[in-house]
Protein backbone atom coordinates (compact mmCIF):
# COMPACT_ATOMS: atom_id res chain seq x y z
CA UNK A 1 0.00 0.00 0.00
CA UNK A 2 1.16 3.50 -0.75
CA UNK A 3 0.37 4.66 2.78
CA UNK A 4 2.98 2.40 4.32
CA UNK A 5 5.42 3.04 1.47
CA UNK A 6 5.45 6.78 2.05
CA UNK A 7 5.75 6.18 5.74
CA UNK A 8 8.90 4.12 6.31
CA UNK A 9 9.09 2.25 9.57
CA UNK A 10 11.50 3.74 12.07
CA UNK A 11 14.43 1.55 13.12
CA UNK A 12 13.63 -0.94 15.83
CA UNK A 13 14.86 -0.03 19.24
CA UNK A 14 14.90 -1.91 22.49
CA UNK A 15 12.03 0.19 23.71
CA UNK A 16 9.83 -1.30 21.02
CA UNK A 17 10.61 -4.88 21.91
CA UNK A 18 7.91 -6.50 23.90
CA UNK A 19 9.32 -8.39 26.80
CA UNK A 20 6.84 -10.87 28.18
CA UNK A 21 6.48 -10.33 31.87
CA UNK A 22 3.79 -12.55 33.27
CA UNK A 23 0.80 -14.48 32.08
CA UNK A 24 -1.12 -13.91 35.27
CA UNK A 25 -3.82 -11.89 33.58
CA UNK A 26 -4.78 -14.80 31.41
CA UNK A 27 -4.53 -17.77 33.62
CA UNK A 28 -5.79 -19.30 36.76
CA UNK A 29 -3.41 -18.92 39.66
CA UNK A 30 -1.86 -21.87 41.39
CA UNK A 31 -3.64 -23.21 44.42
CA UNK A 32 -0.60 -22.41 46.51
CA UNK A 33 -1.04 -18.74 45.69
CA UNK A 34 -4.57 -18.80 46.95
CA UNK A 35 -7.21 -17.55 44.55
CA UNK A 36 -9.14 -19.81 42.24
CA UNK A 37 -11.06 -17.98 39.55
CA UNK A 38 -14.82 -18.66 39.53
CA UNK A 39 -15.95 -21.51 37.27
CA UNK A 40 -12.43 -21.97 35.92
CA UNK A 41 -13.07 -25.70 35.46
CA UNK A 42 -15.09 -24.76 32.36
CA UNK A 43 -14.35 -21.07 31.77
CA UNK A 44 -10.75 -20.29 30.82
CA UNK A 45 -11.10 -16.53 30.72
CA UNK A 46 -13.48 -13.57 30.48
CA UNK A 47 -13.04 -10.50 28.34
CA UNK A 48 -14.77 -7.12 28.00
CA UNK A 49 -14.11 -4.80 25.05
CA UNK A 50 -15.36 -1.28 24.35
CA UNK A 51 -15.18 0.57 21.03
CA UNK A 52 -14.81 4.35 21.17
CA UNK A 53 -14.13 7.08 18.61
CA UNK A 54 -13.11 10.69 19.03
CA UNK A 55 -15.16 13.47 17.53
CA UNK A 56 -13.44 15.58 14.88
CA UNK A 57 -11.64 12.75 13.07
CA UNK A 58 -12.73 10.40 10.32
CA UNK A 59 -12.80 6.71 11.26
CA UNK A 60 -9.46 4.93 10.96
CA UNK A 61 -9.94 3.56 7.45
CA UNK A 62 -10.62 7.09 6.11
CA UNK A 63 -8.02 8.97 8.16
CA UNK A 64 -4.66 10.23 6.91
CA UNK A 65 -1.41 9.01 8.55
CA UNK A 66 -1.09 12.49 10.13
CA UNK A 67 -4.54 12.24 11.65
CA UNK A 68 -3.79 8.76 12.94
CA UNK A 69 -0.52 9.87 14.53
CA UNK A 70 -2.37 12.79 16.04
CA UNK A 71 -4.92 10.38 17.51
CA UNK A 72 -2.13 8.32 19.07
CA UNK A 73 -0.71 11.46 20.71
CA UNK A 74 -4.11 12.54 21.95
CA UNK A 75 -4.68 9.20 23.65
CA UNK A 76 -1.13 8.99 24.99
CA UNK A 77 -1.55 12.31 26.74
CA UNK A 78 -4.91 11.36 28.25
CA UNK A 79 -4.96 10.31 31.88
CA UNK A 80 -5.89 6.67 32.27
CA UNK A 81 -7.01 5.38 35.63
CA UNK A 82 -7.54 1.91 37.05
CA UNK A 83 -5.09 -0.82 36.05
CA UNK A 84 -2.92 1.76 34.25
CA UNK A 85 -2.14 3.65 37.43
CA UNK A 86 0.31 0.98 38.53
CA UNK A 87 2.18 1.32 35.26
CA UNK A 88 1.60 1.47 31.55
CA UNK A 89 3.70 0.32 28.63
CA UNK A 90 3.06 1.93 25.27
CA UNK A 91 4.02 -0.23 22.32
CA UNK A 92 4.40 1.36 18.90
CA UNK A 93 2.95 -1.59 17.04
CA UNK A 94 3.83 -0.25 13.60
CA UNK A 95 7.51 -0.18 14.56
CA UNK A 96 7.46 -3.51 16.36
CA UNK A 97 8.95 -6.71 14.96
CA UNK A 98 6.40 -9.13 13.50
CA UNK A 99 7.21 -11.81 16.04
CA UNK A 100 6.43 -9.44 18.90
CA UNK A 101 3.20 -8.30 17.32
CA UNK A 102 2.23 -11.93 17.06
CA UNK A 103 3.26 -12.47 20.66
CA UNK A 104 0.87 -9.73 21.78
CA UNK A 105 -1.87 -11.36 19.76
CA UNK A 106 -1.22 -14.82 21.22
CA UNK A 107 -1.49 -13.20 24.62
CA UNK A 108 -4.86 -11.69 23.68
CA UNK A 109 -3.54 -8.16 24.20
CA UNK A 110 -4.16 -7.11 20.59
CA UNK A 111 -6.56 -8.35 17.91
CA UNK A 112 -5.62 -10.29 14.79
CA UNK A 113 -6.27 -7.34 12.40
CA UNK A 114 -4.04 -5.16 14.60
CA UNK A 115 -1.05 -7.48 13.93
CA UNK A 116 -1.09 -6.71 10.21
CA UNK A 117 -2.81 -3.33 9.83
CA UNK A 118 -1.23 -0.79 7.43
CA UNK A 119 -1.99 2.13 9.79
CA UNK A 120 0.13 3.95 12.36
CA UNK A 121 -1.03 2.33 15.60
CA UNK A 122 -0.14 1.83 19.24
CA UNK A 123 -1.29 -0.22 22.16
CA UNK A 124 -1.16 0.67 25.84
CA UNK A 125 -0.70 -2.34 28.10
CA UNK A 126 -1.15 -2.17 31.86
CA UNK A 127 1.77 -3.54 33.85
CA UNK A 128 -0.34 -6.45 35.11
CA UNK A 129 -1.34 -7.24 31.50
CA UNK A 130 -5.04 -7.31 32.38
CA UNK A 131 -5.85 -4.25 30.32
CA UNK A 132 -4.97 -2.90 26.91
CA UNK A 133 -6.03 0.03 24.78
CA UNK A 134 -5.53 -0.34 21.03
CA UNK A 135 -5.34 2.98 19.21
CA UNK A 136 -6.27 2.92 15.51
CA UNK A 137 -7.71 -0.54 15.21
CA UNK A 138 -11.03 -0.46 13.30
CA UNK A 139 -12.10 2.22 15.79
CA UNK A 140 -9.94 4.96 17.26
CA UNK A 141 -9.93 3.18 20.60
CA UNK A 142 -10.56 -0.41 21.54
CA UNK A 143 -10.36 -0.88 25.28
CA UNK A 144 -9.99 -4.41 26.54
CA UNK A 145 -9.86 -6.17 29.89
CA UNK A 146 -9.14 -9.83 30.61
CA UNK A 147 -9.49 -12.04 33.65
CA UNK A 148 -9.27 -15.76 34.31
CA UNK A 149 -12.50 -17.71 34.88
CA UNK A 150 -15.93 -16.12 34.83
CA UNK A 151 -15.42 -12.56 36.07
CA UNK A 152 -17.40 -10.42 33.67
CA UNK A 153 -19.08 -8.27 36.30
CA UNK A 154 -15.92 -7.07 38.06
CA UNK A 155 -14.29 -6.60 34.64
CA UNK A 156 -17.20 -4.51 33.40
CA UNK A 157 -17.23 -2.18 36.40
CA UNK A 158 -13.47 -1.64 36.09
CA UNK A 159 -13.97 -1.03 32.37
CA UNK A 160 -16.63 1.62 32.98
CA UNK A 161 -14.28 3.39 35.39
CA UNK A 162 -11.51 3.39 32.77
CA UNK A 163 -13.93 4.63 30.11
CA UNK A 164 -15.06 7.46 32.40
CA UNK A 165 -11.47 8.45 33.15
CA UNK A 166 -10.62 8.63 29.44
CA UNK A 167 -13.74 10.65 28.80
CA UNK A 168 -12.37 13.41 31.00
CA UNK A 169 -9.62 14.11 28.47
CA UNK A 170 -11.12 12.79 25.23
CA UNK A 171 -14.44 13.65 23.64
CA UNK A 172 -16.09 10.48 22.34
CA UNK A 173 -18.53 10.66 19.47
CA UNK A 174 -22.04 9.90 20.60
CA UNK A 175 -25.38 10.07 18.82
CA UNK A 176 -28.62 10.42 20.78
CA UNK A 177 -30.27 7.63 18.82
CA UNK A 178 -27.37 5.34 17.84
CA UNK A 179 -25.30 5.74 21.01
CA UNK A 180 -21.51 5.53 20.79
CA UNK A 181 -20.61 5.76 17.13
CA UNK A 182 -18.29 3.18 15.59
CA UNK A 183 -16.86 2.63 12.13
CA UNK A 184 -18.97 -0.50 11.69
CA UNK A 185 -22.73 -0.10 12.17
CA UNK A 186 -22.82 -3.49 13.93
CA UNK A 187 -20.96 -2.02 16.94
CA UNK A 188 -22.93 1.18 17.55
CA UNK A 189 -24.85 1.71 20.76
CA UNK A 190 -22.93 0.51 23.76
CA UNK A 191 -19.93 -0.53 21.66
CA UNK A 192 -19.45 -3.35 24.14
CA UNK A 193 -18.38 -6.91 23.40
CA UNK A 194 -18.35 -9.33 26.29
CA UNK A 195 -16.99 -12.81 25.84
CA UNK A 196 -16.11 -15.94 27.73
CA UNK A 197 -13.61 -18.58 26.58
CA UNK A 198 -15.25 -21.89 27.37
CA UNK A 199 -13.53 -25.26 27.65
CA UNK A 200 -16.06 -27.89 26.56
CA UNK A 201 -14.24 -31.21 26.03
CA UNK A 202 -16.98 -33.44 27.47
CA UNK A 203 -19.65 -32.00 25.18
CA UNK A 204 -17.35 -32.80 22.24
CA UNK A 205 -16.65 -36.33 23.49
CA UNK A 206 -20.38 -37.00 23.88
CA UNK A 207 -21.10 -35.46 20.48
CA UNK A 208 -23.39 -32.85 22.02
CA UNK A 209 -21.52 -29.78 20.89
CA UNK A 210 -24.02 -29.06 18.11
CA UNK A 211 -26.69 -28.71 20.75
CA UNK A 212 -24.55 -26.10 22.45
CA UNK A 213 -23.96 -24.26 19.19
CA UNK A 214 -27.67 -24.27 18.39
CA UNK A 215 -28.45 -22.90 21.84
CA UNK A 216 -25.87 -20.18 21.28
CA UNK A 217 -27.45 -19.29 17.96
CA UNK A 218 -30.89 -19.08 19.54
CA UNK A 219 -29.49 -16.70 22.11
CA UNK A 220 -27.99 -14.56 19.31
CA UNK A 221 -24.44 -15.24 20.41
CA UNK A 222 -21.37 -15.46 18.24
CA UNK A 223 -19.35 -18.66 18.74
CA UNK A 224 -15.71 -18.49 17.75
CA UNK A 225 -12.49 -20.37 18.23
CA UNK A 226 -9.48 -20.11 20.48
CA UNK A 227 -8.37 -16.79 19.04
CA UNK A 228 -11.73 -15.17 18.53
CA UNK A 229 -12.82 -13.63 15.28
CA UNK A 230 -12.30 -15.72 12.18
CA UNK A 231 -10.74 -18.73 13.86
CA UNK A 232 -12.06 -22.24 14.02
CA UNK A 233 -12.61 -23.80 17.37
CA UNK A 234 -9.58 -25.94 18.12
CA UNK A 235 -8.77 -28.09 21.08
CA UNK A 236 -12.30 -27.92 22.50
CA UNK A 237 -12.16 -24.17 23.23
CA UNK A 238 -15.04 -21.90 22.27
CA UNK A 239 -15.41 -18.18 22.68
CA UNK A 240 -19.01 -16.97 23.05
CA UNK A 241 -19.80 -13.27 22.72
CA UNK A 242 -22.74 -10.94 22.17
CA UNK A 243 -23.64 -10.14 18.58
CA UNK A 244 -25.65 -6.97 19.03
CA UNK A 245 -24.77 -3.74 20.80
CA UNK A 246 -27.88 -1.59 20.41
CA UNK A 247 -31.03 -1.38 22.50
CA UNK A 248 -29.81 -3.03 25.67
CA UNK A 249 -27.72 -1.57 28.45
CA UNK A 250 -24.23 -2.82 29.23
CA UNK A 251 -25.34 -3.80 32.70
CA UNK A 252 -28.22 -5.95 31.43
CA UNK A 253 -25.95 -7.68 28.95
CA UNK A 254 -23.21 -8.43 31.47
CA UNK A 255 -25.80 -9.65 33.94
CA UNK A 256 -27.32 -11.99 31.37
CA UNK A 257 -23.90 -13.42 30.52
CA UNK A 258 -22.99 -13.86 34.16
CA UNK A 259 -26.25 -15.19 35.55
CA UNK A 260 -27.75 -17.02 32.61
CA UNK A 261 -25.75 -17.60 29.43
CA UNK A 262 -22.37 -18.76 30.70
CA UNK A 263 -23.80 -20.75 33.65
CA UNK A 264 -26.04 -22.57 31.19
CA UNK A 265 -23.07 -23.73 29.09
CA UNK A 266 -21.11 -24.55 32.21
CA UNK A 267 -24.02 -26.66 33.47
CA UNK A 268 -24.23 -28.54 30.12
CA UNK A 269 -20.52 -29.25 30.25
CA UNK A 270 -20.51 -30.32 33.90
CA UNK A 271 -23.41 -32.70 33.26
CA UNK A 272 -21.55 -34.15 30.31
CA UNK A 273 -18.41 -34.57 32.43
CA UNK A 274 -20.43 -36.36 35.09
CA UNK A 275 -21.86 -38.65 32.43
CA UNK A 276 -18.34 -39.53 31.26
CA UNK A 277 -17.24 -40.29 34.82
CA UNK A 278 -20.26 -42.47 35.57
CA UNK A 279 -20.58 -44.22 32.25
CA UNK A 280 -17.01 -45.33 31.65
CA UNK A 281 -14.38 -43.96 34.02
CA UNK A 282 -11.66 -46.23 32.63
CA UNK A 283 -12.15 -44.88 29.13
CA UNK A 284 -12.13 -41.28 30.41
CA UNK A 285 -8.96 -41.87 32.43
CA UNK A 286 -7.37 -43.56 29.45
CA UNK A 287 -7.92 -40.49 27.31
CA UNK A 288 -6.63 -38.17 30.00
CA UNK A 289 -3.57 -40.17 31.03
CA UNK A 290 -2.72 -41.19 27.46
CA UNK A 291 -2.59 -37.46 26.63
CA UNK A 292 -0.46 -36.81 29.69
CA UNK A 293 1.84 -39.70 28.78
CA UNK A 294 2.30 -38.41 25.25
CA UNK A 295 3.07 -34.87 26.33
CA UNK A 296 5.49 -36.12 28.99
CA UNK A 297 7.45 -38.26 26.52
CA UNK A 298 7.03 -36.92 23.00
CA UNK A 299 9.99 -35.68 20.99
CA UNK A 300 8.13 -33.84 18.21
CA UNK A 301 4.91 -31.96 18.87
CA UNK A 302 2.71 -30.01 16.41
CA UNK A 303 0.54 -27.15 17.63
CA UNK A 304 -2.81 -28.86 16.93
CA UNK A 305 -1.70 -31.96 18.81
CA UNK A 306 -0.53 -29.98 21.78
CA UNK A 307 -3.87 -28.16 22.05
CA UNK A 308 -5.78 -31.42 21.74
CA UNK A 309 -3.79 -33.18 24.47
CA UNK A 310 -3.64 -30.13 26.74
CA UNK A 311 -7.43 -29.97 26.54
CA UNK A 312 -7.73 -33.56 27.76
CA UNK A 313 -5.27 -32.96 30.56
CA UNK A 314 -7.18 -29.85 31.56
CA UNK A 315 -10.34 -31.98 31.78
CA UNK A 316 -8.51 -34.51 33.97
CA UNK A 317 -7.23 -31.78 36.28
CA UNK A 318 -10.66 -30.12 36.56
CA UNK A 319 -12.23 -33.47 37.48
CA UNK A 320 -9.55 -34.14 40.09
CA UNK A 321 -8.32 -37.22 38.23
CA UNK A 322 -4.87 -35.73 37.62
CA UNK A 323 -3.37 -34.38 40.81
CA UNK A 324 0.23 -33.51 39.90
CA UNK A 325 -0.64 -30.85 37.29
CA UNK A 326 -2.53 -27.59 37.91
CA UNK A 327 -5.02 -25.70 35.76
CA UNK A 328 -2.57 -22.80 35.86
CA UNK A 329 0.15 -24.96 34.37
CA UNK A 330 -2.12 -26.14 31.55
CA UNK A 331 -3.46 -22.66 30.78
CA UNK A 332 0.08 -21.29 30.70
CA UNK A 333 1.13 -24.02 28.25
CA UNK A 334 -1.87 -23.28 26.03
CA UNK A 335 -0.29 -19.88 25.41
CA UNK A 336 3.35 -20.94 25.42
CA UNK A 337 2.98 -23.62 22.71
CA UNK A 338 1.91 -21.00 20.18
CA UNK A 339 4.34 -19.97 17.41
CA UNK A 340 5.59 -16.58 18.58
CA UNK A 341 5.90 -17.67 22.21
CA UNK A 342 7.73 -20.78 21.13
CA UNK A 343 10.09 -18.88 18.86
CA UNK A 344 10.80 -16.47 21.70
CA UNK A 345 11.49 -19.29 24.14
CA UNK A 346 13.90 -20.81 21.63
CA UNK A 347 15.74 -17.51 21.69
CA UNK A 348 15.26 -17.25 17.96
CA UNK A 349 15.63 -13.92 16.37
CA UNK A 350 13.75 -14.89 13.25
CA UNK A 351 14.95 -13.18 10.12
CA UNK A 352 12.62 -10.63 8.65
CA UNK A 353 11.28 -12.82 5.86
CA UNK A 354 10.38 -15.67 8.22
CA UNK A 355 9.20 -13.12 10.69
CA UNK A 356 6.72 -11.54 8.31
CA UNK A 357 5.55 -14.91 7.08
CA UNK A 358 4.85 -15.96 10.63
CA UNK A 359 2.76 -12.88 11.27
CA UNK A 360 0.89 -13.08 7.97
CA UNK A 361 -0.22 -16.66 8.39
CA UNK A 362 -3.71 -16.10 9.72
CA UNK A 363 -4.11 -19.69 10.84
CA UNK A 364 -2.65 -20.68 14.16
CA UNK A 365 -1.42 -23.90 12.58
CA UNK A 366 2.08 -22.68 11.91
CA UNK A 367 5.24 -24.19 13.22
CA UNK A 368 5.16 -27.17 10.88
CA UNK A 369 8.91 -27.31 10.62
CA UNK A 370 10.84 -29.92 12.49
CA UNK A 371 12.78 -27.58 14.77
CA UNK A 372 9.62 -25.95 16.07
CA UNK A 373 8.02 -29.30 16.77
CA UNK A 374 11.10 -30.51 18.59
CA UNK A 375 11.31 -27.30 20.60
CA UNK A 376 7.62 -27.44 21.48
CA UNK A 377 7.97 -31.03 22.68
CA UNK A 378 11.01 -30.13 24.80
CA UNK A 379 9.23 -27.18 26.37
CA UNK A 380 6.02 -29.10 27.15
CA UNK A 381 7.94 -32.10 28.54
CA UNK A 382 9.97 -29.84 30.78
CA UNK A 383 6.84 -28.23 32.21
CA UNK A 384 4.85 -31.42 32.75
CA UNK A 385 7.75 -33.48 34.17
CA UNK A 386 8.79 -30.79 36.61
Amino acid sequence: MSASGSNPQPPRSDADRVVPTSLDALIERDNAQGLIAPDSDCVVSSRVRLARNLIGYPFVHRATPDQLNDLVHRVQSARMSGPFQAGVRWVNVQATAAIDRLLLFERNLISRPFVESPHPRCVAISSDETTSVMVNEEDHLRLQMLAPGLQLQPLASRMFALDASLERSLEFSFHPRFGYLTACPTNVGTGIRVSAMLHLPALIMLDEIDRMKRAAKDMHLAVRGFHGEGTEAIGDFFQVSNQTTLGRSEIDLVEEFTLSIVPQFVAYERTARQTLVERDPASLDDRVFRALGILRSCRLLALEESLKFLSRIRLGVALGRVSDVTLAQVDRLLVEVQPAHLARSMGHELNTAQDEELAKDASPHTGKNRDDRAARATMVRASLNA
Binding site: P176, F178, L181, A183, P185, V188, T244, L246, G247
Partner: protein, 186 residues
Amino acid sequence: MQRECDCCPEIAVVHETLVRDGVKSEVHLCVAHAQERGYILPSSEGPTLIVSKLLEQTKPVAVRAARACPVCAMTMAAIRAAGLAGCPQCYSFFEGDLGLIIERAQGGATVHVGRHPEHAGELVDRAAMRNKLAKELREAVSREEYERAARLRDALLQLGVPVDKNEVDIAFKIGSQGDEKDGAPS
Protein backbone atom coordinates in the same frame (compact mmCIF):
# COMPACT_ATOMS: atom_id res chain seq x y z
CA MET B 1 -34.17 -9.15 -12.95
CA GLN B 2 -35.70 -7.20 -10.12
CA ARG B 3 -33.41 -5.75 -7.50
CA GLU B 4 -34.03 -4.61 -4.00
CA CYS B 5 -33.55 -1.00 -3.03
CA ASP B 6 -30.22 -0.32 -1.29
CA CYS B 7 -32.10 1.05 1.70
CA CYS B 8 -35.16 -1.12 2.07
CA PRO B 9 -36.72 -4.31 0.72
CA GLU B 10 -38.79 -2.45 -1.91
CA ILE B 11 -38.11 -3.08 -5.59
CA ALA B 12 -35.60 -0.57 -6.94
CA VAL B 13 -36.68 1.65 -9.84
CA VAL B 14 -33.59 3.83 -10.11
CA HIS B 15 -30.43 2.05 -11.19
CA GLU B 16 -27.30 4.13 -11.41
CA THR B 17 -23.64 3.34 -11.87
CA LEU B 18 -21.33 5.85 -10.25
CA VAL B 19 -17.65 6.20 -10.99
CA ARG B 20 -15.72 8.08 -8.35
CA ASP B 21 -11.94 8.21 -8.21
CA GLY B 22 -11.89 5.34 -10.67
CA VAL B 23 -13.96 3.16 -8.38
CA LYS B 24 -17.26 1.91 -9.74
CA SER B 25 -20.26 1.55 -7.48
CA GLU B 26 -23.92 0.90 -8.13
CA VAL B 27 -26.96 2.57 -6.67
CA HIS B 28 -30.39 0.96 -6.65
CA LEU B 29 -33.29 2.81 -5.10
CA CYS B 30 -37.02 2.45 -4.68
CA VAL B 31 -39.35 5.33 -5.54
CA ALA B 32 -39.45 6.66 -1.99
CA HIS B 33 -35.72 6.52 -1.39
CA ALA B 34 -34.92 7.91 -4.83
CA GLN B 35 -37.13 10.91 -4.13
CA GLU B 36 -35.65 11.32 -0.68
CA ARG B 37 -32.19 11.62 -2.23
CA GLY B 38 -33.28 14.18 -4.77
CA TYR B 39 -33.58 12.05 -7.88
CA ILE B 40 -36.28 13.52 -10.04
CA LEU B 41 -38.83 10.96 -11.11
CA PRO B 42 -41.86 11.55 -13.30
CA SER B 43 -44.12 11.96 -10.29
CA SER B 44 -47.52 11.76 -11.98
CA GLU B 45 -46.90 8.26 -13.21
CA GLY B 46 -47.34 5.19 -11.09
CA PRO B 47 -44.36 3.08 -10.07
CA THR B 48 -45.07 0.44 -12.71
CA LEU B 49 -44.79 2.93 -15.50
CA ILE B 50 -41.54 4.29 -14.09
CA VAL B 51 -40.10 0.81 -13.99
CA SER B 52 -40.92 0.09 -17.60
CA LYS B 53 -39.61 3.46 -18.69
CA LEU B 54 -36.40 3.05 -16.81
CA LEU B 55 -35.83 -0.41 -18.12
CA GLU B 56 -35.83 0.96 -21.64
CA GLN B 57 -32.96 3.25 -20.85
CA THR B 58 -29.44 2.08 -21.35
CA LYS B 59 -27.70 4.92 -19.58
CA PRO B 60 -28.39 6.27 -16.11
CA VAL B 61 -31.46 8.43 -15.84
CA ALA B 62 -30.50 10.04 -12.57
CA VAL B 63 -30.13 13.74 -12.75
CA ARG B 64 -27.70 14.36 -9.92
CA ALA B 65 -24.80 12.73 -8.23
CA ALA B 66 -25.44 10.69 -5.09
CA ARG B 67 -25.23 12.66 -1.86
CA ALA B 68 -21.93 12.49 -0.03
CA CYS B 69 -21.17 13.11 3.64
CA PRO B 70 -20.01 16.75 3.90
CA VAL B 71 -17.21 15.80 6.31
CA CYS B 72 -15.65 12.64 4.86
CA ALA B 73 -17.18 12.55 1.35
CA MET B 74 -18.41 8.95 1.69
CA THR B 75 -21.60 8.13 -0.22
CA MET B 76 -24.10 5.56 0.98
CA ALA B 77 -22.94 3.26 -1.82
CA ALA B 78 -19.35 3.55 -0.61
CA ILE B 79 -20.39 2.94 2.99
CA ARG B 80 -22.30 -0.12 1.91
CA ALA B 81 -19.36 -1.41 -0.12
CA ALA B 82 -16.87 -0.88 2.72
CA GLY B 83 -19.25 -2.07 5.43
CA LEU B 84 -17.99 0.91 7.41
CA ALA B 85 -19.10 4.51 7.87
CA GLY B 86 -16.53 7.16 7.04
CA CYS B 87 -16.80 9.39 10.06
CA PRO B 88 -19.13 10.01 13.03
CA GLN B 89 -20.95 12.67 11.00
CA CYS B 90 -22.05 10.02 8.47
CA TYR B 91 -24.52 8.74 11.08
CA SER B 92 -26.32 12.08 11.20
CA PHE B 93 -26.08 12.77 7.49
CA PHE B 94 -27.34 9.33 6.45
CA GLU B 95 -29.47 8.76 9.54
CA GLY B 96 -32.39 7.28 7.58
CA ASP B 97 -30.33 4.86 5.48
CA LEU B 98 -27.94 3.87 8.25
CA GLY B 99 -30.84 3.57 10.67
CA LEU B 100 -32.34 0.81 8.54
CA ILE B 101 -29.00 -0.97 8.14
CA ILE B 102 -28.38 -0.75 11.87
CA GLU B 103 -31.85 -2.01 12.65
CA ARG B 104 -31.26 -5.08 10.49
CA ALA B 105 -27.81 -5.73 11.92
CA GLN B 106 -28.90 -5.17 15.50
CA GLY B 107 -31.81 -7.58 15.68
CA GLY B 108 -34.42 -4.85 15.20
CA ALA B 109 -33.15 -2.47 17.88
CA THR B 110 -33.64 1.19 16.97
CA VAL B 111 -32.44 3.26 19.91
CA HIS B 112 -29.44 3.20 22.22
CA VAL B 113 -29.98 2.21 25.83
CA GLY B 114 -27.17 2.40 28.33
CA ARG B 115 -24.18 4.51 29.24
CA HIS B 116 -23.42 7.83 27.60
CA PRO B 117 -20.62 10.36 27.88
CA GLU B 118 -21.19 13.07 30.45
CA HIS B 119 -20.93 15.73 27.76
CA ALA B 120 -23.79 14.09 25.85
CA GLY B 121 -26.13 13.90 28.83
CA GLU B 122 -27.62 17.31 28.21
CA LEU B 123 -27.17 17.21 24.46
CA VAL B 124 -29.53 14.34 23.95
CA ASP B 125 -32.41 16.15 22.36
CA ARG B 126 -35.19 13.81 23.27
CA ALA B 127 -37.87 15.88 21.64
CA ALA B 128 -36.06 15.93 18.29
CA MET B 129 -35.41 12.23 18.40
CA ARG B 130 -38.98 11.56 19.39
CA ASN B 131 -40.20 13.52 16.39
CA LYS B 132 -37.96 11.56 14.08
CA LEU B 133 -39.05 8.22 15.49
CA ALA B 134 -42.70 9.25 15.43
CA LYS B 135 -42.34 10.16 11.76
CA GLU B 136 -40.77 6.78 11.04
CA LEU B 137 -43.57 5.13 12.98
CA ARG B 138 -46.20 6.81 10.83
CA GLU B 139 -44.32 5.77 7.70
CA ALA B 140 -44.02 2.21 8.92
CA VAL B 141 -47.77 2.13 9.59
CA SER B 142 -48.58 3.47 6.14
CA ARG B 143 -46.34 0.82 4.57
CA GLU B 144 -47.98 -1.87 6.72
CA GLU B 145 -44.63 -2.75 8.28
CA TYR B 146 -46.24 -3.62 11.58
CA GLU B 147 -43.41 -5.45 13.22
CA ARG B 148 -41.12 -2.49 12.64
CA ALA B 149 -43.84 -0.10 13.80
CA ALA B 150 -44.17 -2.02 17.04
CA ARG B 151 -40.42 -1.75 17.62
CA LEU B 152 -40.49 1.97 16.97
CA ARG B 153 -43.36 2.32 19.41
CA ASP B 154 -41.32 0.46 22.02
CA ALA B 155 -38.39 2.74 21.34
CA LEU B 156 -40.59 5.79 21.79
CA LEU B 157 -41.90 4.52 25.09
CA GLN B 158 -38.39 3.57 26.15
CA LEU B 159 -37.29 7.15 25.64
CA GLY B 160 -39.51 8.05 28.52
CA VAL B 161 -40.78 11.18 26.83
CA PRO B 162 -44.48 12.00 26.83
CA VAL B 163 -45.90 10.35 23.73
CA ASP B 164 -48.90 11.68 21.85
CA LYS B 165 -51.92 9.73 23.04
CA ASN B 166 -53.29 9.10 19.56
CA GLU B 167 -49.98 7.75 18.40
CA VAL B 168 -49.73 5.36 21.30
CA ASP B 169 -53.23 4.14 20.59
CA ILE B 170 -52.38 3.57 16.95
CA ALA B 171 -49.17 1.86 17.94
CA PHE B 172 -50.85 -0.44 20.41
CA LYS B 173 -53.47 -1.41 17.88
CA ILE B 174 -50.64 -2.23 15.55
CA GLY B 175 -48.87 -4.31 18.15
CA SER B 176 -51.92 -6.46 18.76
CA GLN B 177 -52.47 -7.30 15.09
CA GLY B 178 -48.83 -7.12 14.07
CA ASP B 179 -47.60 -10.67 13.85
CA GLU B 180 -49.63 -12.17 11.06
CA LYS B 181 -49.67 -9.12 8.77
CA ASP B 182 -45.96 -8.43 8.67
CA GLY B 183 -44.46 -10.64 6.00
CA ALA B 184 -40.73 -11.10 5.87
CA PRO B 185 -39.07 -8.94 3.25
CA SER B 186 -38.54 -10.89 0.04
